[in-house]
Symmetry: C2
């Protein structure tokens, strides 16, 4: 994933990722009216709205940017139809050559993390491999430590993960900035992320194991960029 | 949720929760053979196996225990058919009077957490409320801090959450036991959990905001039980 991402950033001359986090309130009325008329006030209507809206967005941007990042929660709240729209969005974005980063922030103990890793690694059923989710990369939560992350790292075969280090919200300081051993806790997470990714460094010098750092903390972002040269 | 859970623990004389984390390797051959013959080596087959197996388990235990806890990752790895089985399992367990704790470990910044909170709070579509997931309670991840948890707390109207404090895996010590201000980091999480739940204490003295503490750390479990008398 990471080499293709860097290649596409150079190709497009653009490091931006477009978030696909649809909310009905932000979508044009004409599109909504049509779907609500057809499907009623149902999750199926919202799913059809999301798929159609994302398609319009992707059609406008696919040749200008390297990647899109759908936030699964926005789809998951509409149940099975919502998650079907998430998958359709991924499929369409990939058909246009975009790299897809699924913002899913999953994380758990090892055996459970191995199941979540199917998002990038697929799942085997009686000897037959199925790639059901199809994200090129996903975001994951570090709170469980190394054995909770290892199954995701093991699934990074041409795909990747971005581990949350510092989130953008105000309340993130409560735990992420707790001082431990003379520095903020999130820096310990940062060092773990570098360690987790050290054997997966691609041709351009970056690892398949990346980091999520909220852009609301620009100074911390710069410091982390220096601390994690390959991440 | 919490008052009904305590009532049912007293009624059954049993504080056990049965996990519904199906894996094909642990399910009887006769059940699998039938479904693979009917659906092939597909996610649809595995979903049908999970639903049938969970039904058999629930039929045996529904009157002996208060609650079940399906682990969503085991279903999510089989895509849409898997998640449909997760929902069918929840519906069947509830029809037998069991309390359902969805082990989903979701967590993100506030606006995203609000979307995930639909698992317990439902979702509104053009003025119509839909309860699509139907869990009575869910597990959540604390790493984002108060504003990442608040939307879940706000959705606890007769339902509940269990916030991860200390996970059962060996690697959990890496972050959860970092020393900060003279004690382990997970104790800071514990104090936050008590704070988040303090206005949601039910008739039996326990909060709708509970805690997840891995049973692999029995001494920490006892200490947390004392530290969090209402959790």
């Amino acid at each position: 994933m990471i080499d293709q991402l860097i290649d596409k950033i150079r190709e497009t001359g653009n490091p931006s990722v477009v978030g696909l986090d649809p909310t009905p309130a932000m979508i044009p009325e004409y599109l909504k009216r049509q779907m609500y008329r057809q499907y009623g006030q149902t999750p199926e209507a919202v799913a059809a709205i999301f798929t159609a809206f994302n398609r319009l967005v992707i059609e406008q941007i696919w040749d200008l940017i390297p990647a899109v990042k759908p936030q699964i929660a926005m789809y998951e709240q509409y149940g099975i139809p919502g998650l079907t729209s998430y998958m359709e969005t991924i499929r369409y974005a990939k058909s246009k050559g975009l790299i897809v980063i699924g913002d899913i922030k999953r994380g758990d103990i090892g055996s459970t993390a191995a199941a979540y890793a199917s998002h990038i690694g697929g799942v085997e059923i009686e000897g037959v491999r199925h790639d059901l989710w199809k994200e090129d990369a996903i975001t994951v939560n570090p709170y469980f430590g190394t054995d909770g992350i290892q199954p995701f790292v093991a699934a990074c075969k041409g795909r990747g993960i971005f581990v949350l280090i510092r989130s953008s919200n105000p309340g993130s300081a409560e735990l992420q900035e707790l001082e431990t051993g003379g520095e903020a806790m999130y820096l310990k997470v940062a060092d773990l992320v570098a360690e987790w990714g050290k054997d997966l460094i691609g041709q351009h010098g970056y690892s398949e194991v990346g980091a999520v750092v909220g852009a609301t903390w620009p100074e911390q972002g710069s410091a982390l960029r220096e601390r994690l040269p390959n991440t």
